[in-house]
């Protein structure tokens, strides 16, 4: 189902949760709303679900399949909502939790007991919890609870799945497993899914598109690779993974910091402007000898070998921290020790000039 929100704002007292948000979500898409706490992502999800009403405004709209749903209460929107803390009915068995959405239907639409049983059992199979029907939520692990919550939401055959930080309360390993499982489920059921998360890795890994939100606004919308490799704002590059920030100055179409130069894609920026140069730890080469005029001298302060790549912390002459990821082979080749002097050179950098965002 395609969903569109237009010019949505939401304030809670003096706090602005959403500021004039417009977004179109395509049918069958898995889209992530990604942002830090307080960025408005959960509020946007709740507005779509109908749990929050947007601030009244003549041009604000929430459309499901092109139809305005402003007057449709939550229960009529056919959305499957999954909460961060599961919100399972704790006094009901797993079976009854999943059957709930069917049992509360008006009598004329309520399926009979046999149909309900069949439905619940097929959902239990889907979430790989066959034989758990008679258990109570407190007898399940966090990951199992969240799967039950998902099955409960799916029982009403929703047109759209809304997941509010569904894996936020789970530990890293379970989270990763569930994430992959969710992606498989989304493809299998062919639904439209909106996932709220503050975990950039999660968003980049499972989504078709990522909506990066910050301070009640949308910063960027795009495919994971697009937002990761072509961030449109300082916030996005900073939020999506580790990044080194260097302060520099514009000179003849280049950003200059110490004796390093980074070419600008927009040569019209006047000289003398302050520039911020963002470089990911992966996009830095490291050598023991100076590589001409585009490298920075630094000393090694920390070497972390735990991981596929080694993570180095360096200190520049101004005592700024520079983080560099290098392959294990390269690390061995260089034979680096703590305190060694090295020269680093960015292979790829993004330059942001205040008011001249490139």
């Amino acid at each position: 189902m395609s969903i569109e929100v237009k010019n949505i704002s939401k304030t809670f007292g003096s706090f602005t949760a959403l500021k004039n948000i417009s977004l179109k979500i395509e049918n069958g898409e898995l889209i992530s709303l990604l942002g830090p706490s307080g960025s408005g992502k959960t509020t946007l999800l709740r507005v779509i679900a109908g749990m929050e009403l947007p601030d009244p405004s003549p041009d604000s709209q929430v459309l499901f399949f092109g139809e305005d749903v402003a007057n449709r209460p939550v229960g009529d929107r056919k959305v499957g909502f999954v909460f961060q803390h599961y919100a399972l009915f704790k006094h009901m068995s797993v079976y009854e939790n999943i059957a709930f959405g069917l049992r509360v239907r008006p009598r004329a639409l309520r399926p009979n007991e046999a149909t309900i049983r069949e439905k619940v059992h097929s959902l239990l199979a889907l979430i790989q919890l066959e034989g758990f029907g008679s258990r109570f939520p407190k007898q399940l692990s966090g990951g199992q609870r969240q799967r039950v919550a998902l099955a409960r939401a799916l029982a009403i055959e929703p047109q759209v799945l809304l997941l509010d930080e569904p894996f936020g309360a789970l530990d890293a390993k379970v989270r990763k497993g569930l994430r992959d499982w969710l992606r498989g489920l989304h493809d299998e059921l062919n639904t439209t899914t909106i996932l709220v998360t503050h975990d950039q890795e999660e968003a980049l890994e499972v989504s078709d598109r990522v909506v990066v939100m910050n301070q009640a606004r949308i910063e960027q919308v795009g495919a994971p690779a697009e937002v990761f490799h072509h961030p449109e704002s300082e916030f996005v590059i900073d939020f999506l993974g580790n990044v080194n920030v260097f302060q520099g100055r514009i000179n003849q179409g280049q950003a200059v910091l110490e004796n390093m130069r980074v070419k600008l894609s927009d040569p019209t920026i006047p000289d003398g402007e302050q520039a911020k140069v963002y470089v990911r730890p992966n996009d830095i080469t490291i050598d023991k000898n100076s590589i001409g005029d585009s490298s920075i001298e630094a000393s090694v302060t920390r070497i972390n070998r735990a991981g596929v790549q080694a993570k180095l912390s360096l200190a520049s002459k101004n005592n700024e921290e520079i983080r560099v990821d290098v392959s294990m082979e390269r690390l061995l080749e260089l034979g680096l020790q703590l305190g060694d002097t090295v020269y680093v050179h960015p292979t790829k950098a993004r330059v942001f000039v205040p008011d001249y965002t490139i």
Partner: protein, 293 residues
């Protein structure tokens, strides 16, 4: 090593004699002030034998007093139950203007003397009061009659259910309700199937305390009842009247009912408290990890 642990232990704890003194004082005080009087009630009631004890219940006035007490509690408790659930629902699940004021108002009966509440009702509904004459025109008597007693009882037992449920419901939040509504449940279905089962032990606890107070209330009821024997006397008032007549066996027999009610309430309360800890610890468990927006 054992030396260090010993030293640590003695460092954390007070000297032996302080502990024993504290325990002795509290036990002695509880026995003297609470347990002893309770025993005396039953001792005095049964002093002249079981037959005399039961004879006290056959008195017409006694039966009327028990009836009046049950009637007052029977009306006041359900009303306060409905009110308490409604108020705590409103306070815990919605935010609205005047919420703090409402919470303060609910506590009012705890803060002021019951006698004053009785007097206020007389002022409003009494023959010389604001509404007394007007009500009399319709043949309605409130003061010195059953309605007055019920009103006074409602007033003093007003906060019990609400006070118990507000923190419980606030702690449980409204996510389960939202889940039910998103699954298509109506407000009514959500209340019966989700909210009420989650607070049932809290409700029972509140009702138990509310009932104990409703049956035991003396001050407010005394002002509005005018002590008509065999008429508007409730059990506590009847006991007071018997005692004034130096009929101590009958007085203590009646008192033993209230004392028994107290003991039953206490046991019920202890059992329910255990259930309540479960109820809230479960909800804590599910909300303990983070609260990112």
């Amino acid at each position: 090593m054992s030396e260090t642990t010993n030293r640590l232990r003695s460092g954390q704890q007070d000297p032996m004699w302080v502990r024993y003194l504290a325990i002795t004082i509290s036990l002695a005080f509880t026995s003297l002030m609470l347990v002893l009087p309770l025993c005396v009630v039953f001792w005095e009631a049964l002093r002249k034998g079981v037959w005399v004890y039961f004879a006290a219940f056959q008195d017409r006035n006694a039966i009327q007093a028990i009836y009046m007490t049950c009637l007052a509690a029977g009306i006041a408790v359900p009303l306060n139950l409905v009110f308490g659930i409604a108020a705590s629902w409103a306070i815990a699940k919605f935010s609205f203007r005047g919420k703090g004021f409402l919470i303060a108002l609910i506590d009012l009966p705890f803060a002021i003397s019951p006698v004053i509440s009785g007097l206020v009702y007389i002022l409003v509904f009494g023959m010389q009061g604001w509404l007394g004459k007007w009500l009399e025109g319709y043949g309605i008597q409130i003061i010195f009659a059953v309605p007055g007693i019920v009103l006074a009882t409602i007033f003093v037992t007003f906060p019990f259910v609400a006070r118990e449920l507000i923190p419980l419901m606030e702690e449980q939040g409204s996510e389960e309700e939202w889940a039910a509504i998103s699954l298509g449940a109506s407000g009514w279905q959500t209340f019966w199937r989700v909210t009420l089962p989650n607070i049932k032990w809290g409700v029972l606890y509140g009702v138990l305390l509310c009932n104990a107070r409703a049956m035991g209330e003396f001050g407010a009821v005394s002002v509005v009842s005018s002590n008509i024997r065999g008429g508007t006397n409730t059990l506590p008032l009847h006991i007071d009247a018997l005692h004034a007549d130096y009929n101590s066996v009958a007085a203590f027999s009646m008192a033993s009912i209230l004392a028994l009610l107290g003991v039953v309430t206490l046991i019920g309360k202890t059992l329910l408290e255990r259930k309540l800890v479960n109820e809230s610890s479960q909800s804590l468990e599910s909300t303990a990890t983070g609260d990112a927006i």
